[in-house]
Subunit: 399 residues, 2 copies
């Protein structure tokens, strides 16, 4: 069944700008307010004062989202229906064109001892150049049974992509990454009968990798997130929006590509992302800009650095607002509270600014103020409908 919102979409001249501060959401603790509440954000506060605020649950009550799920929701795709695995994300990030039937997984090169126990899950964070050399070695020496192709493609640092291609493969396998050191990687275990053959293939591949890499520091690999290509209705068709994703990290460009957006080159950071926005303003209807350091700082437990990453975005708001968007939405794809040092399940504040949004008496942008905003509690997947509506891009429903 076609979904309601896409069925109501119509065109308009009004542009939509979505600013995603990764892991924006925080929590108040006994000692401090949240990062967003403590950050000096006069420009976001002004947009909040002129527009309306709310908080969103990213996936569901109590659920801690990964970045893939958070972004799919913000793009208006139900993150439960449209679950993306690491394999598909990695493939999109390195521009590998997955085909129907391919099985993809995220590779971490690692170091194991003589008995095969994991010593370092990231092999001392080997360089991208070393990673490329190892991938070439494996590609040259690996021998799979007839009809099966293997691709090992460098992502960055210790990360790579594995793709198996052939008939009858299944991604219904467990990860081999034990998640800790001092133990052996787990065997790739089929979670259903159809995956039995694929599990054996992966095991044969891993046995060969172990032999090929035996003299390297990064002498083995861990596999996570076995995945296949899943059909997704392209964002530009779904919403009649010519869309551009702008980010510095490949994964977020990959996410944009998965949903069919055009993407920027990987930018050097937020300031360059804003330049890309300005340079491409007249060619698109929808822009998604991604700020990564808010999340990285949160995961490091670095409260002040997360504040700085928020304030960096704030300083560019006047420049962005002056471009003449119909709607600007500022939010995060999940919470990464510095006191918790990880993604969390807490709701994420958002503000929606635009001519037809209306204002709600909330005059600053933070978690507590946003809870009292006109939008109240929403699900992340529904923000897209509000953006479209505020841009005059949704027809009236029902006579």
């Amino acid at each position: 069944m076609r979904e309601l919102v896409p069925s109501l979409v119509r065109e308009s001249d009004s542009k939509i700008v979505l600013l995603v501060l990764d892991g924006l959401g925080g929590v108040r603790t006994a000692g401090r307010a949240s990062e967003l509440a403590e950050a000096r954000t006069p420009n976001m506060d002004q947009l909040a004062a002129e527009g309306s605020s709310g908080v969103h649950t990213v996936v569901g009550p109590g659920i801690t989202p990964g970045s893939g799920a958070g972004h799919m929701a913000l793009f208006g795709y139900d993150p439960i229906t449209y679950l993306l695995g690491r394999g598909a994300l990695s493939a999109a990030g390195v521009n590998f064109a997955l085909r129907a039937g391919d099985v993809a997984a995220r590779v971490n090169f690692c170091t194991v001892d003589d008995e095969g126990h994991v010593l370092d899950r990231r092999a001392g964070r080997i360089s991208t150049e070393t990673n490329q050399r190892l991938c070439t070695m494996i590609m040259n020496e690996i021998q799979m049974e007839a009809g099966i192709e293997v691709f090992v493609v460098t992502e960055r640092d210790h990360r790579a992509l594995l793709v198996l291609r052939g008939l009858g493969l299944s991604a219904d396998l467990t990860d081999t990454d034990p998640g800790i050191t001092g133990v052996k990687p787990t065997f790739p275990t089929p979670r259903s009968n159809e995956a039995t053959g694929t599990a054996a293939l992966v095991q044969s591949f891993l046995d060969q990798v172990r032999a090929i890499l035996c003299d390297e520091q990064a002498n083995f690999m861990l596999l996570r997130g076995f995945d296949t290509l899943r059909p997704i209705e392209a964002f530009p068709n779904r919403y009649l929006l010519k869309a551009r994703g702008i980010a510095s990290y490949p994964m977020y460009l990959g996410l944009s590509k998965i949903v069919g957006m055009d993407v920027s080159p990987a930018t050097a950071g937020w300031m360059e992302s804003v330049e890309d926005l300005k340079a491409n303003w007249y060619d698109y209807d929808y822009f998604y800009l991604h700020q990564k350091p808010t999340d990285s700082a949160g995961e490091d437990g670095d409260f002040e650095r997360k504040i700085a990453a928020i304030e960096q975005v704030d300083q560019t708001i006047p420049e962005i607002a002056s471009l003449g968007a119909g709607v600007i939405c500022i939010t995060g794809d999940h919470a990464t509270p510095a006191p918790l040092k990880r993604h969390s399940w807490h709701p994420v504040p958002f503000l929606m600014w635009g001519e037809s949004v209306g204002t709600d008496g909330v005059d600053r942008f933070d978690e507590e103020a946003a809870r009292h905003g006109a939008f109240g509690y929403q699900y992340a997947k529904d923000l897209m409908a509000f953006m479209l509506a505020a841009a005059g891009r949704l027809a009236t429903y029902g006579a």
Copy 2:
């Protein structure tokens, strides 16, 4: 399809304590605040100040829940999917092991006049001893057709359990309790074709009961809530939690057993329940403690007694908090406002306290304060996910 939250469950050392004050929710009226707002609860107020609050809708907007539905929701089972009838609840309460195919119903012994009109729906609240004598009489004298077994088991006061056992039975029957006096009990009416035979069996049973009890004050019985055993995924498997239910009333121990928890002996009341919690602290991951007098007082319209029952729990909070739980959640299974003298549909306040919950500026525990808490409006069935999340027992969703 497996549900999302159970699919993300992982183990942790963090313990969860759920305190259920039965019928906790109240309403503000022209004259008074709610019972919870008027109660002196310095300890719950402190947990609210350190944690976060919200209100929950137990089943759905405007729906007044029974205790079974309210508890199933708090245990994380959708109360609409997992509806429990009175028959199954009664069976669990008296430790009767229902088998697949059994039909169970709640019995109320009653008094009827010579024409069969109901004079007293509770037969003057006969003693449990009288009840036992009547059940024995019936069991000795009743004669059912070949292949059909009948069990009549005393619960307490005027209440008993009826179980029919045999092939081809159906619980799709209407209650015989007219709900009022001065009229005859209704016939057990089949609601589908499959229940026609069972309806006739029940009528034959009732005709005999009327004859067997003709010389008693409690000279007949009313039947409610025909039900069968329904498969439920056990709580300890579903959430990877070794779980203990602690209560003074058999029905709540029965509810705990239905979902597969271990249970305490029936305690003498709240103070003994807290002793059971302390004595078993190291053997379980999850504890559910039930306080009944809040509900009984509400149903009696006794505002002051409901306050006292709330304050009794409050006084034990420091002792409970000192045990070192990862998460404490305090709430009710529904509202029983004393001014209404019955269960009601009103939302129920809850507070969630724990290291990773965060605080929200709400510094007391009552209906109005809770509405402004960080959790906002939730469904009761989703509280379990928040408890698991706050205890670090849910993995990240989506890469």
